[in-house]
């Protein structure tokens, strides 16, 4: 009798959407449970870390880890899971490249703590207590050490070796299911592959692609907050900064189908080194203006260019975050 496949799920710095995405498999989750044993899933089932520590090395077939690495606790658990697992899969945008929590890399650890613990309007902290580099609390004669908030957020593969990536914020049920099928088939792709998604850009599967001309050229940029795009017409042609052309497909163009431009949660195609650099390059080059003043004026309509092109990718980018200067 062949041994059953053992699966672990873990979350680091994430919103919980990736965990929801697993449940979003709906009735297919029953098929998954028929095929695998879940041996660790803190968000849904009662396991303790000691249970994992007692497992023999390489006894978990595959660990799905979502979220970026922000706390010392995250580092500790993912290193343990790496030791106990044959395969580790970075599940979702945060784990793959840092995701939205990774935008915090535009600020230093001190700036983040000051904002969160002192200056937000809803904070009441008269004693100005801020977590130290090491915080110990004593409760009922037991010393508890609070995890350390690290200097920056890192994608999973900067902390442990990662075998595969499943993109998305969160990965859609369809992509998750396809990735599971690939992993369970035993016919494993080469290490470092992106599972479940397409190898072509989002435009390739976008229903509006037929309305996109060979050369997209626009005279002005618009914002979705104050512009109601025509349905059934390429959003880029209408002036919305849609990141479809530089983003990996596989999601089924969910956002575009809801008249929202793509924000790039499936990340770069395999030949791109820095998603943000590529996106800047693309967005600027479709602007059909020649005069420097006109160019400056139209580009200034892209509010928060950095947040737009690095929404999911900053910690994986060439410079990983804000590299100098003081507060912005």
């Amino acid at each position: 009798m062949s041994e059953r496949v053992k699966v672990a799920f873990y979350w680091c710095a994430s919103c919980g959407g990736c965990e929801e995405a697993v449940v979003d498999l709906a009735e297919k989750i029953l098929d998954v449970i028929n095929l695998v044993d879940i041996v660790f899933w803190p968000v849904a089932m009662d396991f303790k870390l000691e249970d994992v520590e007692r497992m023999p090395d390489n006894s978990i077939t595959v660990s799905f880890i979502n979220g970026g690495i922000r706390l010392s606790e995250h580092e500790k658990v993912v290193k343990l899971l790496r030791q106990k697992s044959k395969l580790v899969v970075a599940f979702g945008a945060c784990s793959s490249w840092g995701g939205i929590p990774g935008l915090a890399n535009l600020y230093t650890r001190e700036e983040i703590l000051e904002r969160a613990y002192l200056t937000t309007p809803t904070t009441h902290n008269p004693d100005k207590i801020i977590p130290g580099s090491k915080t110990e609390v004593e409760i009922d004669n037991t010393k508890i050490e609070v995890p350390v908030f690290l200097a920056s957020l890192k994608p999973l593969d900067e902390v442990i070796d990662v075998d595969y990536y499943i993109p998305g914020c969160p990965p859609t049920p369809n992509v998750t299911w396809k990735a599971l099928e690939t992993l369970l088939s035993g016919n494993l792709p080469s290490k470092g592959s992106v599972l479940g998604a397409s190898d072509r850009s989002l435009c390739d599967e976008c229903p509006l692609n037929k309305t996109k001309p060979e050369n997209v050229l626009i005279k002005e940029f618009k914002r979705i907050v104050n512009f109601n795009p025509e349905p059934n017409k390429c959003l880029l042609v209408q002036g919305l900064p849609c990141l479809g052309p530089v983003t990996r497909g596989g999601c089924g163009a969910l956002c575009v189908n809801a008249n929202m431009p793509c924000t790039g949660c499936f990340g770069p195609l395999s030949d791109v080194r820095d998603y943000g650099g590529k996106a800047i390059s693309y967005l600027a080059s479709i602007l059909d203006l020649d005069n420097e003043e006109d160019i400056k004026r139209e580009l200034s309509k892209i509010i928060d260019a950095t947040g737009l092109v690095y929404k999911y990718y900053l910690p994986k980018s060439a410079l990983k975050g804000k590299v100098g200067g003081s507060k912005s």
Binding site: N105, L106, T108, S133, L150, A151, S152, V272, R273, D274, G276, G277, K278, I280, S281, L283, A284, S285, L287, L289, D290, E292, I295, K296, L299, I302, A305, T306, V309, Y310, S317, A318, L319, K320, G321, K322, V323, G324, G325, S328
Partner: protein, 140 residues
């Protein structure tokens, strides 16, 4: 004294010819530049500049033919102008001082302008000191 490393992406038709002219005219300029010849400033992807900074450049220059009409490929320089106008904002948000990146138009005959740009850049960056990313260094 700190000697900055400056990476230059120079277009084949104008700026690279100006660099050549400076050489054949025996004009001296600071030896801090590493010139990479590209066919057009419109070929320079912002990713190249990020990679240069990642790999230890203290400053980067992208240089091409004068707009609007000097470009050998009609409008490659305009494309560079659009890209790097937006890209500058990214560099600013990442905390990279504006003196560390320059977009310049230098024609084939402007050896003197090339020398001026390089000398200014080296002095500006020397004042700033080495480009040391805060992130990516060992955690406490």
């Amino acid at each position: 004294m700190f000697e900055p490393k400056i990476v230059v992406f120079a277009c084949n038709w104008c700026t690279y010819a100006a660099v050549d002219l400076a050489g054949t005219s025996r004009i001296s300029y600071p030896p801090n530049v590493r010139v990479i010849r590209v066919m057009c400033s419109g070929r320079v992807d912002p990713q190249f500049v990020l990679e240069a900074f990642k790999n230890g450049a203290d400053g980067v220059i992208v240089a091409g033919c004068h707009p609007p009409v000097d470009c050998h490929y009609t409008n490659g320089n305009i494309k560079a102008l659009r890209r790097f106008t937006l890209f500058r904002r990214l560099l600013n948000d990442l905390g990279i001082e504006q003196e560390r990146f320059r977009l310049e138009w230098i024609s084939a005959s402007e050896a003197d302008k090339w020398v001026k740009v390089v000398s200014e850049m080296v002095e500006d960056v020397r004042k700033l000191g080495p480009f040391k990313p805060k992130l990516g260094v060992k955690e406490v």
